[in-house]
Amino acid sequence: MTVTTKQRVPAVEGFFTLGEEPHLIGGRMADAGGYCFPLHLGGADPDHPAAAVVEVLLSRTGRIWSFTNSAYPPPPPFILTEPYVPVVVAAVELEVERMVVLGQVAPGWTVEDLEVGMEVELVLGVLYEDDEREYLTWQWQPVGPSADGQV
C-alpha cells in the first residue's frame, strides 16, 4: 500500500495564504485605514474607491460575533461530500480591522461547543477533494482544547 499525499490547493485563489499560520488576504484603503474582505471585491467606502485598495494580511485571531450551522446540505455551488456533516459557521469579529468575517468552523466542533465572544484562530480545512487534490477553504477554530479534549 502506498500512502499518497494529495496536493493542497485553495478552492478559489486569492482568499488566504497557505502554510502553518494562514492569514486571510484582505484589502486596506491606502490612506483611510478601513479594511475589506475579500480583496478582489473591494470596499464600499464612498471616499475611497476600490482602486485605492492595497493587499494586506488580516489578523489570524478574533472573537465569535455569532454562530450557527446548516443542518441540511447547502445547495450548489456548495460541493457536497457524503455523508454530509452539518457545516458549522461563525461570524468572527477582528479587533484591529473592526470588521466581522464569516467562515466555516473547523471540523469536530458543533454549535454546542461554541459561545458568542469565544476566541478563535484561522486554520485551513478541506472543502472537498478529488483523486489528486484537496481543495481548501478558511475555517475558524476555537483557541484552546479541541472539542474532543485533545490539545
Partner: protein
C-alpha cells in the same frame, strides 16, 4: 413628499401551484383594476417587479404582464432588487406619477419558485459574493437568519421560545387570510417539534419559497379625486435606501462586514435607516403607526424589525411580543396578514403584498384580521445586496 393614491389592490393566493408566473400576475392585476374601478386601457404606465427564476431575464416582467393583459401602448419598466423588487417597482411608478408622465399606473409582481433553498444561478463565478458564500462557506440564507437570531440571544437574552411565539402569533393571524399558503395555527410546541434548519431556528420558523402574485393600481391624488375617491389610502413615504458605509452588521450575501477602522460608524444601522427614511418622507414617526407588515424571513428577524422600525426600544422586542401588543387586538399589531410565516415568499410579489394588506387594513376591509381604527401602516423589508424597502401608507 407628495403623496399618491392606492386606488386598487389585488393578489393571487400564495401556494405551490407550479404555473407560469404571468398567470398569477395577471390575476392579481385584474383584481386590482376591478378594485380600483379602472379600465386597463386607462393605465398609462406598467411597473413590473422581476422574477429571475425563469432562467434568464428574458421574461422582462413589466412587458410580460402588459402583453398578457393586452398591449395598449402604455409605458413600461421592470425592476429587480431581490426581495425589495416590489417596492422598487412602486417607487418607479410613484416617480412617473409625480413627474406628471402618467395619471395612473399598475404595479405588479409575481413568481413561480422551485422547491428548497434559494441558490444562485449555475456556473463558476468567483467574483460574485452570492456564489462565494455558498461555495466557500456553505452559508445558505437560513445561516444568515440564524446568525442574527443567535446574536439576539447573546445581546438581549432572547430564547428559542420567544422566536417560536412569533411564529405562533403570525399563524393565528394567517388563519383568517384567504391568500395565505399556510392558513393553519401552530403552537410553540409545534415549532419545537420541527427539525432544526440552522441552530437555533427550526423549519417552522424559516420562510418557505412560494408561488404568488400581487398588484397595485396607483394614481395621482388629482386623478383619485376625479374618480370620486375622496379619501383613498395614500402612499405617504417610500424608502429604497442603500446602506451607509461602514455597515457593521453581517448580512446576505456578503462574506464580511465593512470595516469601521477608518470611519465613524453611522448613527443608524442599515435596517434602522430604512424606516428612518420612510418616516422622514411621511413626516410621521413610529408613535403614529397603527399596524406594520415586516419581513419575517425567520421568526427571530421579526423581533429585530420591532426595534429597527422604532416600535420599541432596543432590547425590548421580546417584552413587546409577550405583552400581546403585536397581536391583532394589541397596541401595534405586526403582520396581521400572517406574514411570510403564513405565506412563504414569492420574491417579486411580497413587498407589494405587504402594501395590499395594509390597504385592506386602512380601508377596514380585513375581515377577521382587522386592526380596529388603523389609519397609518408601515412595511419593512430588505433585498439582497443592500436594497432597503419600506412604504408608509395612511388614510
Amino acid at each position: 413628499m407628495d403623496e399618491i393614491a392606492v386606488l386598487g389592490v389585488g393578489m393571487h393566493p400564495w401556494g405551490k401551484w407550479g404555473r407560469n408566473f404571468a398567470e398569477y400576475g395577471v390575476h392579481a392585476a385584474r383584481e386590482a383594476l376591478a378594485d380600483a374601478g379602472v379600465d386597463w386601457r386607462d393605465v398609462g404606465f406598467v411597473s413590473g417587479a422581476i422574477t429571475v427564476r425563469c432562467g434568464y431575464p428574458g421574461y422582462v416582467a413589466g412587458s410580460t404582464f402588459a402583453r398578457a393583459l393586452g398591449f395598449t401602448g402604455a409605458q413600461v419598466a421592470s425592476s429587480y432588487a431581490a426581495c425589495a423588487s416590489g417596492v422598487t417597482a412602486l417607487s418607479v411608478a410613484r416617480g412617473q406619477i409625480l413627474s406628471g408622465a402618467c395619471d395612473v399606473a399598475l404595479v405588479v409582481g409575481a413568481d413561480t419558485t422551485p422547491k428548497g433553498f434559494l441558490a444562485p444561478a449555475e456556473g463558476d463565478r468567483p467574483d460574485d459574493t452570492d456564489w462565494l458564500r455558498f461555495h466557500m462557506v456553505g452559508a445558505t440564507n437560513p445561516v444568515y437568519f440564524a446568525l442574527h437570531a443567535r446574536r439576539r440571544m447573546a445581546l438581549h437574552g432572547a430564547t428559542p421560545e420567544d422566536f417560536a411565539l412569533v411564529k405562533a402569533k403570525n399563524s393565528r393571524h394567517g388563519v383568517h387570510n384567504p391568500n395565505a399558503r399556510y392558513p393553519k395555527e401552530y403552537g410553540v410546541e409545534d415549532v419545537a417539534n420541527s427539525p432544526v434548519v440552522s441552530d437555533p431556528l427550526r423549519l417552522l420558523e424559516i420562510c418557505a419559497t412560494s408561488d404568488g402574485g400581487a398588484a397595485l393600481v396607483v394614481s395621482s391624488m388629482d386623478y383619485a379625486r376625479s374618480r370620486g375617491a375622496g379619501d383613498p389610502v395614500r402612499v405617504a413615504g417610500l424608502s429604497t435606501v442603500t446602506p451607509t458605509y461602514p455597515d457593521t452588521v453581517i448580512d446576505l450575501p456578503y462574506l464580511a462586514t465593512d470595516s469601521s477602522a477608518g470611519s465613524e460608524v453611522p448613527e443608524l444601522g442599515f435596517k434602522e435607516s430604512i424606516g428612518a427614511r420612510v418616516y422622514e418622507e411621511a413626516g410621521l414617526g413610529p408613535v403614529d403607526v397603527d399596524v406594520a407588515e415586516v419581513y419575517d424571513l425567520s421568526s427571530a428577524l421579526e423581533l429585530d424589525w420591532y426595534e429597527q422600525l422604532g416600535l420599541c426600544e432596543v432590547g425590548g422586542a421580546e417584552s413587546l411580543l409577550r405583552s400581546g401588543a403585536t397581536s391583532i387586538g394589541g397596541r401595534i399589531p405586526v403582520n396581521p396578514s400572517g406574514g411570510l410565516g403564513a405565506f412563504g415568499e414569492a420574491v417579486p410579489a411580497q413587498a407589494i403584498a405587504q402594501v395590499c394588506e395594509l390597504t385592506w387594513q386602512l380601508r377596514g376591509q380585513a375581515g377577521h384580521r382587522q386592526v380596529e381604527g388603523a389609519r397609518v401602516g408601515v412595511t419593512a423589508n430588505q433585498g439582497l445586496f443592500g436594497h432597503g424597502s419600506s412604504v408608509l401608507v395612511r388614510r
